[in-house]
Symmetry: D2
Subunit: 367 residues, 4 copies
């Protein structure tokens, strides 16, 4: 039941099936007075689109966003922003032969178990297409955060065994490379690896990472709503993500305290920084003003053209081959989704904690 | 602000500081009619207690739970269950010299940034002691789940470089071993490693894992409230956890689709199972009836007796040495916290989705 | 911030401004398997439409609902149902002269105070037009409740000084009468009164009531989420409602215990009923199986053609006359909104409490 | 299930049964830095206590509050404030003869219907005693609001047929009079009426009202979280309340627009006020800077010593006489509960909307 909303103040609700007439997002709780138009959203949707035949499905969606509410005379009004995308390129019939079969690695079986039946066309609600709606919200959150001096940038860190060289990081490379990797060499090798997978009727996964800069110390809440805990929910909720790491992540488990601790140092004006950032910008669930680092491991695309054993709706053993339009790897397109979910989470936590000190409250309300 | 509650129907709220008079948990939304007494809770609290000098602090807390509400004539009434633990062994003065210093790897600096000041005694609210309150809720959730045929078992998988041999898994070993590892050999080697760390005035981390058996297919919600997403929030909210993995976790990123997909097979009575469980029991955010597998990477204890560079409240550079009672590794005591958070999350998702099909609703309400 | 969502499991989110391109509702958490099409929704929207020139604005909205998601092959899938209404008859220019003036009794001033500016066209988000989106959700909730044997019926009880004679209650009269009153005589007198108001460039208010039948005993939660408390929120959230009563409501304050208490009686099969229903079907926040009775007092329409003193955006004293299309009374059109909010609240509470007893849980999950 | 929490940022959770060992409240999300001790809470608890034999039960509870967390060195830390009251004067045996009987007007029957059984001692969780926990939260909210220049004052407006003369309003009279009425004459007449009821083994109800001064314009959220809607939930959730009114309330239904509209006027410094306050300080769900007025109608105490028809747990017809310690009217003791719920609601809405404008956000975060 429910489950399609995220956030406590900056609250987003997505809706829509892969092959329904449309999908969209309602963003409630966006501050008023932010300049916003479809032009702010489109570049983010474009990054999610299957642009490069080498790495992505041939499905052609124009993915044109239309803002239906919450913006007046070019500015957000503080009321719900409803944005809709009409689906255009629906090859629903491609899925007719899969109607009664449970695709391994997909949610077909579990949706039937939960709801009794499902919209089988392209995965319905469980399709990666749902994330287009998240990207809409992300584009808006990124815009608000930018006004506060906060930037959110994600990229591909690895595709299968090919790892990016982060010392060569370039934002323009991330945006230009078909793999969304930040260096050109790794991008080239990854493309080869992907091509090889495709030839073998197989698929691969990878790792993506997001760096959030400029978050002041003090954002996030203790205990269950820790900033890293909410980021973990946000990022794990992206389909195909199987692991979420903060800072050094799993490497921290084999480190030692003297190395893993980030020692503090004072700047000339008394500001506090850290000599290292193993923690990934969060201590005790609250931002410490250094870069926030979030990493996600993505499983290989489950749709492959090889024959696989499965079961049909009647509970009979059978086999399945999945043809049609499928990405051999989804990481390059998922990078902007990671960026979006991180932006939404950071903005929501920032808004949520604004009244955490009575002295600040008094200075705001008694002026 | 806020942040101390978790769950939508089975909703827990923890409170209390490390060196305050008491700490506790309010569990709202527990089904009525469950037999419950302090005897059900105590064994879980005892597992969290520092029992073994080799691996844990010498702090002696009796950690005796007292149920103050929600139970009548030995059964839960459906109303909030309030459970309290009085703190007994408070060496608050141990912390006086740390009062104005920011301990590296701790939340001292971020709490001050957020709230303007903090209860510095033993970390106050950010102390690992808060998790005693979670364990109370976990013990209750485990008891309810058991009535539904669901078991939740966590254990230590690795301490620093020492990995457990899971082929030797034994629940009694987990409960008996000081490291909460499931095999005796690894336990012995891990204890040596921990002793070595202690001698070096250093600390170490590790990996813990939880297996949930018996969850029927269909538990969990799509999109943001996916079962794995909520587990990720629940587990990342445990202090010192830096990574959460489901099933194969980060290994999935370097696998290929043909290997990572779990193929389905039908049983003789039409029931559906999987030939493997790389997914860790969750597909599309919904349980698939196989074991749910959750793994957490824990950073080394930040409190170490070595000298570290830091900053004081006035923003001046200084050094710090942390003496007193500290675990050289927290994993063995955190295992029951992992188990608790998983149990709470599973029960909440199960209760939340009960009305997901109209045919079930009709059969329940129109009988 | 936020505020446009209601419900915990059956959760609705409305969006859209009076004179924007469209408005709509996302209904998340609707049980799967319910037959649903636009035909189920349209009659409810039609009841909210200004149909009768005597009582309503001359604005002509076709108010055609389009379902964009959550329904497949004629049945709800359990995923978010997104329904949209395109706005067609927008006389935005009617409002240009009101742009910088604060209409008395409207939210113009308070929206500016909160958000810094506002969509002034027809009240923007604060317009009664927002309730069209609620009616969509209500139509769906009513349909689900009907399958469970629960009916929800609202009607006009009074218009200004004219009170309906409930002993003559007829559902068809409610649906046929321009005032939504249940008896013909009162309807005629109320229409005269409304015409008189209109001639005087004035407006009037009234009282509406909703009766919910068939709710089994045991629906609702203790303390803050009492069924009557949630109904109070739901109904008070309808613009222009200034009072909410349950059962005898304000009359209870001047009654005495021996008269106000509803004594119990047993049926031949052991079922329990009450000899009276002063309580309005709810005891301690939980349904008692008798009719649930909710009453709302509605203020006179604030838009009147008379001259009124007011202030402009610059803080200068001035006068205002509001011409254009305005209902002299909104009660007849608000009745279906009351019905909708009651249906949504009852369904949400029913779903929320399904797991309140362990014996029921065991029988459902261990079968 | 659940239901014992209220608020989104300033979030309170109450627990405890009438005759259990203790009851309490956890207040999460209180701003840090507020001076707080038990001395701030006790006067509010004392106002709720049965002080005057004429109007209240003879139960003697010392109702001593103990703060267990969230306060350090005399100031709130921003973490959960847990406050507990030990129950002392439990005459549980008084209730043994009512164990299997359903008291008319009480929640006995509905709790059994929902949960299968109940703590029958003194109403258990459904007892008015639960409101002592709300008063704790209210005392804290009032203290925070006072720092922001906001005051919250409630009083008795009517007892049965006796109405207070508000032109004689005196806060000290409210606090001194046994009825919590603001004028001495009405207090005297009300006491006579109550004595008469007691002699007749009957009980009575009344009306209470709360005035909140100093709330700046702009507090509250549109649509479902309107300030008046949340106040309605908060106030209707107080046991025995059967109606909630804002401003003119039910009188608005029989008024006309030209009279009911509050016309605006500008002050010399451009500040906007209203020439009247029929709206009760809220327009479109958002505060307009005039006094917020909330009124609640309270039913007669259901416990009366007269014989009433009822049913027992076996579903058999029988009779019941309720002896023991019962208030002939609960209004005087409920006034501080009304005040508390209003204070909590206002503070929560104020904190929730702090980030509603980007210009404010930028000035706070980019300084």
């Amino acid at each position: 039941m429910a489950g399609s909303s995220f956030g406590r103040i900056f609250r987003i609700t997505t809706w829509g099936e892969s092959h329904g007439p449309a999908l969209g997002c309602v963003i409630d709780g966006c501050p008023a007075g932010v300049e916003l138009s479809e032009k702010d959203i489109q570049p983010y949707l474009d990054r999610r689109k299957p642009g490069n035949a080498a790495v992505a499905t041939a499905r052609k969606e124009s993915d044109t966003a239309e803002i239906l509410s919450g913006v007046f005379e070019g500015k957000t009004t503080g009321t719900p922003i409803s944005v809709i995308i009409r689906n255009s390129d629906q090859h629903s019939n491609d899925y007719d032969n899969l109607k009664d079969l449970y695709r391994p690695g997909h949610a077909d079986m579990t949706y039937d178990a939960k709801y009794g039946f499902r919209d089988h066309r392209g995965g319905g609600r469980s399709s990666g297409r749902e994330t287009a709606a998240r990207v809409i919200a992300g584009a808006i959150a990124v815009k608000v955060l930018k006004e506060l001096g906060i930037t959110v940038e994600a990229y591909t860190r690895a595709i299968g065994p090919v790892e990016a060289d982060l010392s060569e990081y370039s934002r323009s490379a991330v945006l230009a490379n078909a793999t969304a990797m930040p260096d050109i060499n790794a991008n080239a090798r990854a493309l080869e690896y992907i091509a090889d997978m495709k030839n073998k009727c197989d698929s691969c996964g990878g790792v993506m990472e997001c760096i959030i800069k400029g978050v002041p110390a003090g954002v996030g809440d203790p205990v269950f709503d820790k900033l890293d805990a909410l980021l973990a929910q946000a990022v794990m909720s992206i389909g195909a993500v199987k692991a979420v790491e903060i800072g050094d992540g799993i490497q921290a488990a084999s480190s030692v305290g003297s190395r893993n601790n980030d020692q503090f140092k004072a700047g000339s004006k008394g500001q506090i920084s850290k000599k290292s950032n193993h923690a990934g910008g969060i201590l005790g669930g609250i931002s410490d003003s250094s870069d926030i680092i979030v990493r996600a491991s993505v499983k290989p695309t489950p749709s492959i053209a090889r024959s696989q054993k499965t079961v049909n709706k009647l509970g009979e053993n059978t086999e399945i081959e999945i043809h049609g339009r499928h990405d051999p790897v989804i990481v390059p397109r998922a990078v902007v989704v990671l960026e979006s979910m991180c932006a939404v989470t950071i903005l929501d936590s920032l808004l949520y904690g604004m009244g955490s000190r009575i002295d600040n409250l008094v200075s705001i309300y008694n002026k």
